[in-house]
């Protein structure tokens, strides 16, 4: 048994300017409030967590006595399972709240549910909600740590962190890489959190989508947020050229308002990531997808399961990144938090 990090890590460049003793976040709402150093701290901690996942005894007692509640107001398979596995691997207790089975059906309000969890002694609440901004309300109401596991179309920071970590782990750096995010950007909290994270890490982000699936005020959003390296190229062939990373997004049919797409077929023709388009990118291009995949809609099967796809690694890395987040967030004392 070798418990070193996988081979490719040996060649990773040392992270610059990291003081890993410094961590001030008691919550994680979105990546806009994380610094570059914070993100690098998550990477370094995730490397250690990956080692635990790779060994026979996949359990450490670090969070023994802590309780993590998964409060999901929206369907989720992988994010929820990932947080649950992360918490259990660190020795924490996990309270899974499937909202259809809780008092919400009896009319209990969100705030009362949060307060009940706090009174039950929960240390961290991982929350997913169809309404943007709900985690920001939660931090006002309870003293537990709040982790945003997806709020409406707003943010999904743990997914963005695992995307960044997967790229960093595979390529060895992030600075200067070109990434293309394709498709349903309008509804994608993953895209938004990634734009924050990727910009902070010095990546060049190109968005490629039909204009109806972009954010309405995309140019304003980019300029106001200070994301210096984000641009929009609507023709996918042109966008993909020279890319180091391509990330098609799931077409969120459940959030499609009438008339955003003339037809699924037209979207597929113009925006599906297939083998031909992938060949326009850099030779060593990697493919990520936040899942779940709609095969042969936003991504061709051959690409999703091809040699350049890191989609499965994203899932494994996701557990490590969430372990790192739970570890770091539970380290901060209440009071000296942000």
């Amino acid at each position: 048994m070798t418990i070193s990090v996988v081979g490719s890590d040996a060649s990773l460049q040392p992270l610059s300017g990291v003081s890993s003793e410094v961590w001030q976040h008691h919550h994680m709402l979105d990546l806009d409030e994380f610094s570059r150093g914070d993100i690098e701290n998550v990477f370094k901690t995730s490397n250690i967590m990956r080692q635990i996942l790779d060994r026979d005894v996949k359990r450490v007692p670090t969070l023994r006595g802590k309780t993590i509640a998964n409060l999901f107001y929206e369907p989720s398979t992988r994010t929820r399972a990932s947080f649950e596995l992360a918490a259990k691997t660190l020795g924490a207790g996990v309270l899974g709240l499937d909202v259809v089975r809780t008092s919400v059906v009896k009319g209990e309000s969100l705030v009362n549910t949060l307060r009940t969890l706090e009174a039950l002694g929960v240390d961290v609440i991982v929350i997913r909600h169809p309404q943007s901004g709900v985690p920001y309300i939660a931090v006002q109401e309870v003293s537990c740590s709040i982790i945003n596991a997806g709020d409406g179309c707003h943010a999904h920071p743990s997914q963005a962190l695992l995307d960044l970590y997967t790229i960093w782990r595979h390529i060895g750096k992030l600075d200067g890489l070109k990434v293309v995010i394709i498709g349903d950007i309008k509804h994608s909290r993953v895209a938004r959190s990634n734009m924050w994270g990727m910009s902070k890490m010095g990546m060049k982000v190109t968005l490629s989508a039909p204009s109806t699936l972009l954010l309405r005020d995309i140019d304003q959003f980019i300029s106001q947020s200070g994301m210096s390296h984000v641009d929009v190229v609507s023709n996918l062939d042109n966008a993909v050229e020279g890319a180091d990373v391509v990330m098609p997004l799931r077409l969120q049919l459940e959030r499609q308002e009438e008339g955003l797409l003339p037809s699924l077929r037209e979207f597929t023709l113009r925006y599906q990531l297939d083998g031909r388009r992938l060949s326009l990118a850099n030779r060593n291009v990697i493919v990520l997808h936040p899942g779940p995949i709609h095969e042969d809609i936003e991504i061709a099967s051959e690409v999703a399961h091809g040699s350049q796809s890191l989609i499965e690694q994203q899932v494994t890395n996701g557990v490590a990144v969430r372990m790192a987040l739970l570890y770091l967030i539970t380290r901060t004392k209440r009071g000296d938090q942000t």
Binding site: T2, S20, N41, T45, V57, P61, Y327
Partner: protein
Amino acid sequence: MADKILLSAEEMSRALARIAHEIVEKNKGTEGIILVGMHTRGVPLAKRLALMVKGFENVSVTVGTLDIGLYRDDISSGELKLAIRETKIPIDITGKKIILVDDVLYTGRSIRAAMDALVDLGRPEFIQLAVLVDRGHRELPIRADYVGKNIPTSRTEDIKVDIVEIDGKDEVSIIKSGKAR
């Protein structure tokens, strides 16, 4: 507040050389031995012990590193130690003779954590403990198999170990810190 030097560079070197000899003597050779240095200062100490064994036995002993950050029992109290370093032992420890190496043995709680971490990695034949300094005040039933120097201390004193590889010099000194640690 003045530092009092307890071990000079030469004395430290002699103490380590003696420990290296004792390890080989007690285990009747080097077969199956892994020297596991505990972060931070145990790591260079383990490497030095391996070099010394190589010097007089001409055998390369396996060296590993161990971080106990995830196994500590003081995580939710007192100082917040964030950084976790890499645990790296190049071979399976099952059936091997583990010599844990640390700079100072004090309450024994770090050693307890280290043993927990090790048994999660495999089932060693046994675990022995080598420390540069034993300063007493044990809070757990733990003792060292190899000790560089026994230094009786009070709890208000602090033992400072400097190692060339980390601190730029080899020296063990005692500091009156004024507060119990």
